[in-house]
Every structure is written in structure tokens, then in C-alpha cells.
């Protein structure tokens, strides 16, 4: 990815493992183990005789194996993630193989202890020591390698998206801000003489705004704060555009405690002003409408635009929209969206995302 080469701060790739200590991961392991057990039982083609016993013994053994491997990865995860991928993978693989060996050995010994000579139900324990252990090591090696490879590939994919989003937000800051910054400075330069109090407020607002835009791209903030940032932006633009800029806020029904990635509403307002209101001699009204239903928050920003202009295709606008889309996708994969449409001389941008009160889980990892 090109984003990687431009950014000196990007950490070297590490082996990213899911948090195996979490209940969700353990549930996933149990489910996977059961499916593998069913797979094995089916593959043995002994549906008529002993299928259930076969499945039960296989499940029992694989659960032991799966949970002990999970426990080992849970303990060693932090340590493994600090080293380069190749070494971490090798060590993880060795640990898992050791686990397999240990569990197989224990199971075999147990079988020997419980069933010496006796037949019946205990025949589910393996009889041939070497074959049993070697077979388990073989299967374990293949499954572990596949799993590690899967974790690496999926983490790498996620990392690429994250880095692209970071690169975009920096590019966005570098792109749209200067116009706003210098125009605001010009307004303030005038106000310092004509209206010092408003000049002071404008400087304070500008400081707040830049502080918000310099914060980490991953930080989640309450919806209330995000609206506050957008309103700060609105106040500054208002000084410059006067009555040409009207903004109506209809967001009272939204849960203000909802956690959202920072700067998802403010750029929409900024775009609405830059590409819409500013380009209209008579100005116009930006309306921001929020609706909350079925645990989903919808925010629609609507603004007039000059006719004949391919608003959504403008480079700055498209970049801002893509950037918001990527950060929504990072916060709520597959459950959030940003849509835009143009109807005649009006442009609509709509955010839809689920209501969460705490930051999404993978942001803390």
C-alpha cells in the first residue's frame, strides 16, 4: 500500500492475535472445535455404528486441545505480539504443537490407566500410542498453521484499512483546512479593530476546532462533543458569511451520550459551506436532521448547491466523504454507512451508524 511508504510512523507489522482471554473468543473456539469434531466424525463414515460415541469422544478430546491451546495463547499473546512476525509465528506454532503433544500424551495415559484390558465404552481411548500422537501432531500442525496465517492476513487487511484512513485524515486536514484557516484569520484581523470581543471569541473557537482536528483519528467522543465542534465551526463561518449562512439543527431526539469517531459531522458542515453556501451569491440554509430508531442513529446534512456543478465529484468533497466512510467502517464494520445524493440543486449526505455508549471493542485492542 502506498500509504505505508509515506508514513514514517507506521510500526513494523506484528502477528496480530485476537484476544483469546475474552469470552467471545472462547465461545468461537468451542464452536469451531465442535464443527471440526463433526467433520471428523462424518469423515470416518461410520454413521451406522457408533457415530454419536465417535462424535462425543472426538469432541471431548478436541475441546481439551482447543481450550488448552486457547489458554496458552491467552497467556503468551502480549509477549508474542512484541516480536517480528516470522519469529512470533514460529514460537506460537511450537507452543501449540507442544500443547497438542501434551494433551495427546495425557489422554493416552488416562486411557491406559482407566481401561487396561477392559473393553466397552472405554474403547474410545486410543490403543496405538505412537500413531495417535503423531497423527494429532500432524493435524495440529496443519490447523495451527492455517489459523496463524488467517490471523495474519485478516489483521494485515484491517491494518491497511486503518492506515489508509489515517493517511486520508491527514491529507484531508492538509487540504481543506488552509482555506478555512486563512479566511478565518482575515476575518479575525478585521474584527480585532472593529469588534475585539468577537475577535477574541473567534480565536477561542478556532483554537478549539484545531485542537479537535489534531486529536488522534481513533479517538471516539460523545455525539454531544461532535455537535459542539460542528457548532464552533459554524460560529466562525457565520462571522465571515453573515446572513448568507443559515444553519438549522434538528438533533434533539438523538442520544447525546452515543460514542462516535471524532470529526464525522463537522466535515459535512464544512463541505456544505465550502461547496454550497459560499458558492451561492444569496447563500442558503444547511439543515442537519437527526433521527434515532431501532438503536440506529441517522444524521442527514442537506444543503443547496449551485446548479450544473457535479458536487459529489468535486475532489475535496469526495475525499471528505470517503474519509468519513472509512472511519465509520473501522468503528462499526459493516454496520455503518455514509450515503450522498443530489436532487436538483440540493445535496444530501446521510450518516447511519449504531448507537454505542462505549467505544467499539477493537478500538481498545
Amino acid at each position: 500500500m502506498s500509504a505505508r511508504t509515506y508514513d514514517p510512523r507506521v510500526p513494523a507489522p506484528t502477528l496480530h492475535l485476537p484476544d483469546f482471554c475474552a469470552a467471545r473468543a472462547i465461545l468461537a473456539v468451542v464452536l469451531i472445535v465442535e464443527m471440526v469434531a463433526i467433520l471428523f466424525a462424518l469423515a470416518r463414515q461410520s454413521l451406522q455404528q457408533n457415530f454419536w460415541i465417535d462424535l462425543a469422544s472426538c469432541s471431548l478430546f478436541l475441546l481439551w486441545l482447543g481450550l488448552s491451546c486457547t489458554a496458552v495463547l491467552c497467556r503468551t499473546r502480549t509477549w508474542l505480539q512484541q516480536m517480528p512476525v516470522a519469529r512470533a509465528s514460529t514460537i506460537a506454532l511450537c507452543l501449540l504443537m507442544f500443547c497438542v503433544l501434551l494433551v495427546s500424551e495425557v489422554v493416552y495415559r488416562l486411557g491406559q490407566f482407566w481401561t487396561f484390558g477392559a473393553a466397552g465404552v472405554f474403547s474410545m481411548f486410543p490403543a496405538d500410542h505412537a500413531a495417535f500422537v503423531l497423527r494429532n501432531l500432524g493435524v495440529g500442525f496443519i490447523v495451527s498453521s492455517l489459523a496463524l496465517r488467517y490471523f495474519y492476513v485478516s489483521a494485515e487487511g484491517k491494518r491497511n484499512i486503518e492506515m489508509a484512513a489515517q493517511a486520508r485524515i491527514r491529507a484531508l486536514q492538509a487540504r481543506i483546512r488552509p482555506h478555512f484557516l486563512f479566511n478565518s484569520m482575515n476575518t479575525i484581523a478585521e474584527l480585532t479593530r472593529s469588534n475585539p470581543e468577537r475577535a477574541e471569541q473567534a480565536v477561542e473557537d478556532l483554537a478549539d476546532l484545531f485542537r479537535a482536528s489534531l486529536s488522534d483519528a481513533h479517538t471516539q467522543i460523545p455525539l454531544r462533543d461532535e455537535f459542539e465542534i460542528a457548532k464552533t465551526h459554524q460560529r466562525i463561518e457565520q462571522l465571515r458569511l453573515g446572513p448568507r449562512l443559515q444553519v438549522t439543527w434538528d438533533v434533539d431526539t438523538l442520544p447525546m451520550r452515543a460514542q462516535v469517531p471524532g470529526l464525522i459531522v463537522q466535515p459535512l458542515l464544512e463541505n456544505a459551506v465550502y461547496h454550497g453556501i459560499e458558492m451561492l451569491p444569496a447563500g442558503g440554509t444547511v439543515s442537519i436532521v437527526g433521527t434515532f430508531r431501532d438503536g440506529r442513529i441517522e444524521i442527514e446534512v442537506r444543503n443547496p448547491i449551485p446548479l450544473q456543478h457535479n458536487y459529489g465529484e468535486r475532489e475535496g468533497n469526495r475525499m471528505a466523504l470517503e474519509n468519513i466512510g472509512q472511519r465509520l467502517a473501522l468503528a462499526w464494520p459493516g454496520r455503518a454507512s455514509i450515503e450522498t445524493r443530489q436532487e436538483g440543486s440540493e445535496f444530501f449526505a446521510r450518516l447511519v451508524f449504531p448507537y454505542t455508549e462505549t467505544a467499539a471493542a477493537h478500538f481498545t485492542s
Binding site: H179, F182, N183, M185, N186, A189, S194, G242, P281, Q308
Partner: protein, 252 residues
């Protein structure tokens, strides 16, 4: 440098009131200059330029409707056009173009000394440099209006109202909803600028695609185009027939 005994007469153009307030205040502190008018839109600026004949126009680049560079191109069609100084808060492409073409510009917030210096050195921008500016700074990808000179006045013609452009030896005739006018531009650059909506049907004719009501084939094999709203029939050259038919069919 010779000091002129009369004041420089300035036209101040910016869509933002605080920006004009500040410029007015700065100019009040500079000697030998007088603001004859202020304009908040490009259209008004063009009208005031034609009427009041300022010496220098201080022209904001980014404005609703007509951009500053378009305004400069329009007022340049006046006889004895004024000098132009562009002002901008931030516009990377425009500033690069101003630098390349050595055109006077000021960055907002403007310093008083720089403003005074720019006023002393303000000069008219040649049409060729303006054309280059418009090309490299292209803030809006294309004009929404074109400008025709009517004696001492300037007239803006919305591109949406234009039926066709016809060129003869020297001038181009624009036929539009409210009549026809002469303009001083080249058909080639018009064809490039409005490539999406206008189609070349002849070496000397550029027609609005949506205004073509019919393409008819004559007995001798060549084609003619009928213009919807005025009924005029224009000849299609052999060289442009294939392209025209392709575009008309592609639309259907």
C-alpha cells in the same frame, strides 16, 4: 516612479463583508487612493467596471457565480481595461498560476505595506496571460456564462441559453435565446472548454447538443442540423459528420 497627481480610483470586489471591511480600512490609511465602488459579486463588479471605469480592481479569486479570474477576463474586453490585483486567502492552483504569469496578487490577511506596494505596481494583465491563468488556475472547471461587449457595456450570456457559435474571419457570433452577439474568443478554445455539452459540426460551427432537434440528410449526401428553438439549419461538414452522428445516437 512618477506619482500621479490624481488619486487612484479603486473598485473593491469580495463576496465577504468582513474581508471588504478590512480592505477598506487598510486603503483608508494609504494615500492617493479612493474607493469608487464595492461589489459583492462578479456580475456587479463587471457592471461597475464598465460604468465607473476604475483604474485598479482589487478582485477576490473565490466568489460565488463568477470567479475572480473569470471577472478579470470579462472586464478585459473593455476598451482601456483597468489594472487587476487578485486577492485570495488560500488557493494553491491560482497562486501558482499568478506566480508563473507574474500577475499581481495579495494573500489575505493582507499587510498594509504589501497592499501599498501592489497598488503602486499594478498593471493591466494581457489577454494571453489571462487566458493562461484561467487555464492553469481553473477554479471552476468551466464558465457558466460568457461575456460579450456591447459598445461601452459588457453583457453576460448564460452558457445554458446558447444555441451555437459561428465563426467568420475575425469574430465569433453567439446565437442564444435572447438574440445574438459578437465575442472575441477562439472557437477551438470554446470547443475544448464546453466539450461535454457542445459539439463541433463544422470548422466554423459549434452547436449545443441539447439544441439539436434533428440531423437531416440532404440529396447530395451531406448532413444538416436543425436547431430546436430558433429553427435555423446549419451545415455539417463531412469531417465532423461521423462524430456528430455517434454522439447523437449515443444519447438516444
Amino acid at each position: 516612479m512618477l506619482q500621479t497627481p490624481v488619486d487612484m480610483r479603486l473598485l473593491l470586489v469580495d463576496d465577504e463583508l468582513p474581508a471588504r471591511d478590512r480592505m477598506r480600512r487598510l486603503l483608508a490609511e494609504i494615500e492617493d487612493c479612493e474607493i469608487v465602488a464595492e461589489a459583492g459579486t462578479g456580475e456587479l463588479a463587471i457592471a461597475q467596471c464598465a460604468e465607473l471605469r476604475p483604474d485598479i480592481v482589487l478582485l477576490d479569486v473565490r466568489m460565488p457565480g463568477l470567479s475572480g479570474i473569470e471577472v478579470a477576463r470579462h472586464i478585459d474586453s473593455l476598451e482601456d481595461p483597468p489594472a487587476v490585483i487578485f486577492t485570495t486567502a488560500y488557493d494553491q492552483y491560482a497562486v501558482e498560476a499568478f506566480e508563473t504569469e507574474a500577475v499581481g496578487y495579495l494573500l489575505k490577511p493582507v499587510r498594509k505595506e504589501k497592499l501599498a506596494h501592489a497598488l503602486r505596481h499594478a498593471s493591466r494583465i494581457s489577454p494571453t496571460r489571462l487566458a493562461k491563468l484561467a487555464e492553469s488556475a481553473r477554479i471552476d472547471h468551466r464558465r457558466d456564462q460568457i461575456c460579450a461587449r456591447l459598445g461601452e457595456q459588457l453583457k453576460l450570456i448564460p452558457v445554458a441559453d446558447i444555441y451555437y457559435f459561428l465563426s467568420d474571419q475575425k469574430y465569433i457570433t453567439v446565437r442564444h435565446r435572447n438574440g445574438e452577439n459578437l465575442i472575441d474568443e477562439s472557437l477551438k478554445s470554446l470547443a475544448e472548454e464546453f466539450a461535454g455539452d457542445f459539439v463541433r459540426i463544422h470548422r466554423n460551427a459549434l452547436v449545443a447538443e441539447k439544441q439539436i432537434s434533428a440531423v437531416e440528410r440532404c440529396d447530395d449526401g451531406h448532413y444538416v442540423v436543425r436547431i430546436r428553438e430558433c429553427g435555423v439549419v446549419l451545415e455539417v461538414s463531412r469531417r465532423h459528420a461521423a462524430e456528430l452522428l455517434r454522439r447523437i445516437r449515443g444519447e438516444a
